[in-house]
C-alpha cells in the first residue's frame, strides 16, 4: 500500500513537472517536483523506500530530460537514502525541521547532480548558487504545502462525511 502510494506520488510529480514546465517562461521551472516527491516518500517511508523511489524517479526523469541516464537517478537515490535515514533517526514532523530537510535535500541534490556533470566534463552550470537557492526555496514551499495538504486530507474527508450524514 505504501509502495503504491510512493509510486503514485512520483508519477504525479513527474506528470506535473512535465506539464508545468510548459507554462513557465523560458521553458524551465525552478521547482523540482520529483525531488519533492522523493523527499516526501523518504520522510514517510524510510531510507530504503526513499532510495528506491529516488532511483526510479531519477532514472525516469533522466530518460525524459537528461542526456545521461543515471546521474539524476544517482543523485536522487542518495538524497532519498539520507533523507529517509534522517527521518528515521530524528523527529522531523514539525514544520521547521521539514523546511530544513527540504532545503538541505535540494542543496545536496544540486551538488551531486551538477557535480557529477561537471566532474565528468559533460556540462558546466552558470551561476549555480542562485539557481540552487531559488530551487531550494521553491521545493521547500511546495513540499511544505504538500505535507500540509496530505496531513489535512483525512480530517477534511471526515468532516465532509459527517456533514452529509442525514439529520435526525
Amino acid at each position: 500500500m505504501r509502495a503504491a502510494g510512493a509510486l503514485i506520488a512520483i508519477a504525479l510529480a513527474l506528470a506535473l513537472q512535465t506539464t508545468l514546465a510548459r507554462f513557465v517562461v523560458g521553458g524551465s521551472t525552478p521547482i523540482d517536483l520529483v525531488l519533492v516527491a522523493v523527499v516526501y516518500v523518504a520522510l514517510t517511508s524510510g531510507a530504503a523506500s526513499g532510495m528506491l523511489a529516488g532511483s526510479v524517479a531519477g532514472l525516469i526523469q533522466d530518460a525524459l530530460a537528461s542526456d545521461i541516464i543515471g546521474i539524476g537517478g544517482l543523485a536522487k537515490s542518495i538524497v532519498g537514502f539520507f533523507v529517509g535515514a534522517i527521518g528515521q533517526q530524528f523527529i522531523v514532523t514539525a514544520a521547521i525541521p521539514r523546511l530544513f530537510v527540504f532545503m538541505a535535500a535540494t542543496a545536496v541534490h544540486a551538488l551531486l547532480f551538477q557535480g557529477l556533470y561537471a566532474g565528468l566534463g559533460l556540462r558546466t552550470f552558470s551561476s549555480p548558487w542562485a539557481a540552487v537557492v531559488t530551487q531550494a526555496l521553491g521545493n521547500t514551499v511546495v513540499g511544505m504545502v504538500a505535507f500540509a495538504t496530505v496531513e489535512s486530507l483525512p480530517g477534511a474527508l471526515e468532516r465532509r462525511r459527517m456533514s452529509r450524514r442525514p439529520k435526525v
Binding site: 523506500s49 532510495m51 545521461i68 537517478g73 544517482l74 537515490s77 537514502f81 565528468l120
Partner: protein
C-alpha cells in the same frame, strides 16, 4: 517478507543502487580519449587483474625456477665438495711427494758435496722411550752400517749409530743425555765438548774461560772424537752464562730439526778419498774409525 529482508540490509541496497547507477552513467559517458568510460573502467580493472595475475604467475614461476635452481645448485655443490675433498687429498699427496723429493734432493746434494763415503737411510721410527733420544733407520749392517758411524743430515749432525742390526739401525741423537761430540766455534776456533741434555738443547762444555764466545756463534764438529767428521754443523750458541770467570752454561740449539727427519746419510767412511757407496760395495765391512 523479501522486501522486509531487503529493508533490513539498507546499506547493501544503497551500495548496490549506487554502483548500478555509476555503471549506467559510465556506459554512456565517453572519456576525452573517445573511449566509453565503462569500457575504459572495465578494461582498466581487468588489465589490473591481468597484471596482478600475470605478476603472480611470474612470481610463482620465478619461485619455482629458483627452487629448481637451488636444487641443482645443491647437487652441484655436493659434487663440487666431493671433488674438492678428492683434490685436497691429491694435493696433500702431491705436497708430501714434493716434500719427500725436496728432502731427497737435499740429501743427494749433501751426499755429493761430502768427501766421505756415505749411505742414505730413511728414518722409520723414533725412540721408544722419552729417556733416550734415539731413532731407527731402515738400513743396518747388511748395508754396511756399523756402530759409531756418524749420521748426518743436510742441516748438520744428527747422531751416531749405536746398535746396527742386519736390516735396521738404532741411532743415538746428538741431544741424548749420553751423547757427546767434539766441537769448536767456527768463528774463533774455540774448542770444547758438545753434550746432549736429554731435552731439545745441547751444552757446550770444557770451554776455556778465555775463549771468545758469542750468542749466535756456529759450533761445528772438530773431528777430535773419532766419530763425527770434521766440519759438520752441530748448532748455534743460544745462551751463555759465566761464573767466576768460567763458562758455566753455554747452550746450543741443534741445527737439525730432529723431530722432522725423514732421510739421513750415514757416514760409512770418515776418511777422505775416492767416494764409494758402502751400501753396495762394502755391505759387511766396518768403517774405518779414526782414533
Amino acid at each position: 517478507m523479501a522486501l522486509l529482508d531487503i529493508r533490513q540490509r539498507v546499506g547493501w541496497l544503497f551500495m548496490t543502487v549506487t554502483i548500478a547507477h555509476l555503471i549506467l552513467i559510465s556506459a554512456q559517458v565517453t572519456t576525452r580519449r573517445g573511449v566509453p568510460l565503462l569500457e575504459e573502467a572495465i578494461f582498466g580493472a581487468v588489465a589490473e587483474v591481468q597484471r596482478v595475475a600475470t605478476g603472480g604467475i611470474g612470481e610463482a614461476r620465478g619461485v619455482w625456477q629458483n627452487y629448481l635452481n637451488l636444487r641443482q645448485i645443491s647437487r652441484e655443490n655436493e659434487d663440487l665438495k666431493q671433488r674438492l675433498s678428492q683434490l685436497e687429498v691429491a694435493l696433500q699427496q702431491e705436497r708430501a711427494l714434493a716434500g719427500q723429493t725436496r728432502v731427497l734432493q737435499q740429501v743427494l746434494q749433501l751426499k755429493t758435496e761430502t768427501p766421505f763415503s756415505t749411505t742414505p737411510a730413511a728414518v722409520i721410527a723414533s725412540g721408544a722411550s722419552p729417556e733416550f733420544r734415539t731413532m731407527t733407520l731402515d738400513k743396518g749392517s747388511s748395508q754396511g752400517l756399523a756402530a759409531d758411524m756418524a749420521v748426518i743430515a743436510p742441516a748438520g749432525v744428527v747422531g751416531r749409530v749405536i746398535l746396527p742390526t742386519p736390516r735396521a739401525a738404532k741411532v743415538q741423537l746428538i741431544i741424548d743425555r749420553n751423547a757427546a761430540a767434539a766441537g769448536l766455534v767456527e768463528r774463533t776456533r774455540a774448542q770444547g765438548v758438545v753434550v746432549g741434555t736429554g731435552g731439545d738443547r745441547m751444552r757446550f762444555e770444557y770451554v776455556a774461560g778465555t775463549a771468545d764466545l758469542k750468542t749466535g756463534d756456529r759450533v761445528v764438529t772438530s773431528g777430535m772424537d773419532g766419530i763425527y767428521p770434521k766440519g759438520f754443523v752441530l748448532g748455534q750458541i743460544e745462551s751463555i752464562e759465566r761464573k767466576a770467570g768460567e763458562f758455566s752454561n753455554v747452550f746450543i740449539r741443534p741445527s737439525v730439526n730432529l723431530s722432522a727427519l725423514e732421510t739421513v746419510l750415514v757416514v760409512t767412511s770418515a776418511t777422505e778419498g775416492p767416494k764409494t757407496d758402502t751400501a753396495v760395495t762394502r755391505p759387511q765391512s766396518a768403517p774405518a774409525r779414526p782414533e
